[in-house]
Symmetry: C2
């Protein structure tokens, strides 16, 4: 059974076919969060701190850390992002003990993050683009860490799932050339918005199954993208993730503060036989005072108040 092992200084998180679905918290990311971006440029890390604590409290077992701010004072992220990434990783690892994902499209920022991160973080990401493969894979090998492989290449993102599968296969093969085993590659098959492409859901389900059966790799995705521009996004996301999990998806980069999605993942773990004795489901769904003693106590309490 394929297992991708992530570690902090003290904790292990495993992404795997026979493991509970791995929830990777997406919140520590200034992309599309203007207030957070401004805070980071000003050296204010209060939102990073509260996001780290809240996501772990909500059940994330891994946190993604993205430092992708373009400073108003300096428009070159190759200069500004590496020190910011170092600072954010040190800060987050001082607060919470879950393993991290170092997330950047700026290669020196990935290297900066890897140089300070304790444990065995995952790199996010490599793609099938030649330049990325040649820069990122040696880094992944040097630090002996797993990596997210996004299935686009120099020709862009293909709408054809056959092409996206072929790109994933190419990345796995190139990684093997560098001595990186396939169990350290977590493929993101790319989730398109269903509002723009009606077959986007089925496409992901079929890709995930092939990636698992043919390449034997773990998979992840930016789950909420599926529902972009649709009403009741949480209603769609909380069904999309279990359906993908039924087809073999083993992790997602997502917002763990959304309770509907988290409860759906608990049910999916139970139904996929990855919740021993249903312990997690039962704990999360226990009714207060449901035990006979509790129920009696409640009624007696009410009687006393009335009497």
């Amino acid at each position: 059974m394929t297992q991708t092992v992530l570690e902090s200084a003290t904790k292990t998180a495993i992404i795997g076919f026979d493991q509970p679905f791995c929830v990777i918290g997406e919140r520590i990311n200034p992309t599309g969060r203007k207030k957070l971006a401004a805070e980071l440029e000003a050296g204010d890390f209060s939102t990073v701190e509260s996001d780290a604590l809240a996501q772990v409290a909500a059940g994330a077992t891994v946190l993604d850390v993205n430092a992708g701010v373009v400073y108003n004072s300096n428009p070159n992220p190759n200069e500004t992002e590496p020190p910011l990434m170092r600072k954010m990783i040190e800060l987050v690892q001082g607060l919470v003990d879950v393993p991290l994902v170092i997330d950047s499209s700026v290669a020196p920022a990935l290297e900066a993050g890897l140089s300070v991160c304790k444990g065995r973080p995952m790199v996010n990401s490599v793609t099938g683009e030649e330049e990325k493969l040649e820069y990122i894979l040696p880094l992944v090998k040097k630090y002996n860490v797993p990596v997210v492989a996004i299935s686009n290449d120099d020709t862009g993102i293909s709408e054809d799932p056959e092409v996206r599968f072929a790109v994933a296969k190419k990345i796995v093969e190139r990684a093997a050339d560098f001595g990186i085993p396939s169990h350290d590659i977590v493929v993101d098959p790319l989730v398109m918005p269903i509002g723009a492409m009606a077959g986007a859901g089925r496409q992901v389900f079929e890709l995930v199954r092939r990636l698992r059966e043919e390449l034997k790799v773990n998979t992840t995705c930016g789950a909420s993208n599926i529902s972009f521009a649709m009403p009741n996004r949480s209603g769609i996301n909380s069904i999309f993730i279990p359906m993908a999990a039924a087809c073999g998806m083993t992790s997602a980069i997502m917002n763990p503060l959304h309770e509907a999605e988290m409860m759906a993942i608990r049910a999916a773990n139970l139904l996929n036989n990855n919740d021993p004795h249903g312990a997690d489901w039962i704990r999360a769904n226990k009714v207060e005072g449901e035990s006979p003693a509790g129920a009696r106590g409640g009624r007696e309490g009410r009687r006393r108040r009335r009497g």
Copy 2:
């Protein structure tokens, strides 16, 4: 693409790989409903009437009709059930226009139902038991109707999914001997409670996939059985159905009055690309007064009341 066609006098319901998930309303069934059983023996059909109307209003596109009452006045269902089944089917078809499933373990009751039912109902059920095969399949052939095939046989219900698959295959082959095509067989792979068998969910997902890929048949199940004796049953059922649908399940015999399950099925249809233009999802999730005109109208109305 496999299609199983059910008809009433005026309406068609299709169970199929490229169709919205077919919701078969389960409520018209006295099993485990003592009050309904007593009403039926007393000739009171008010609950049957209200259940028929409520289930269709809630979105069931097919209704199951089961007349399985053991009368206190006559313990022989071979005598009492056939006339009751006739009466119930005539009553339901007088009230609602969806196709029906004639559900009985008493063979003469199936025949009585078939003799009066308008359109093309489905028979529920045949099993792999020899006596059933020899009695039910000729009936199915005579009336040219589809049939639910439950994957147990004379040895009982096997916990081994290989055996359950083999039983389903045997039924499909025997049906072919009678001239019944496989698209008129809807296999119920049997859903065990996850509380009694931790692998019950995964087992169904894998069986459904094999039944679809290898036998090319539609599938159904008594969905709620999966969550028996667990807390928050609706939370489990509403994730189980989409996961099964992602693996190829095309219908379920279920309670359409449970809103969480019905909304989950709408999301599953959208994600499986069986909701053209997302029309059903958008209609079901439209926020009241969300359109500019509607919102204005609402505000003006309030202003007028205040002014």
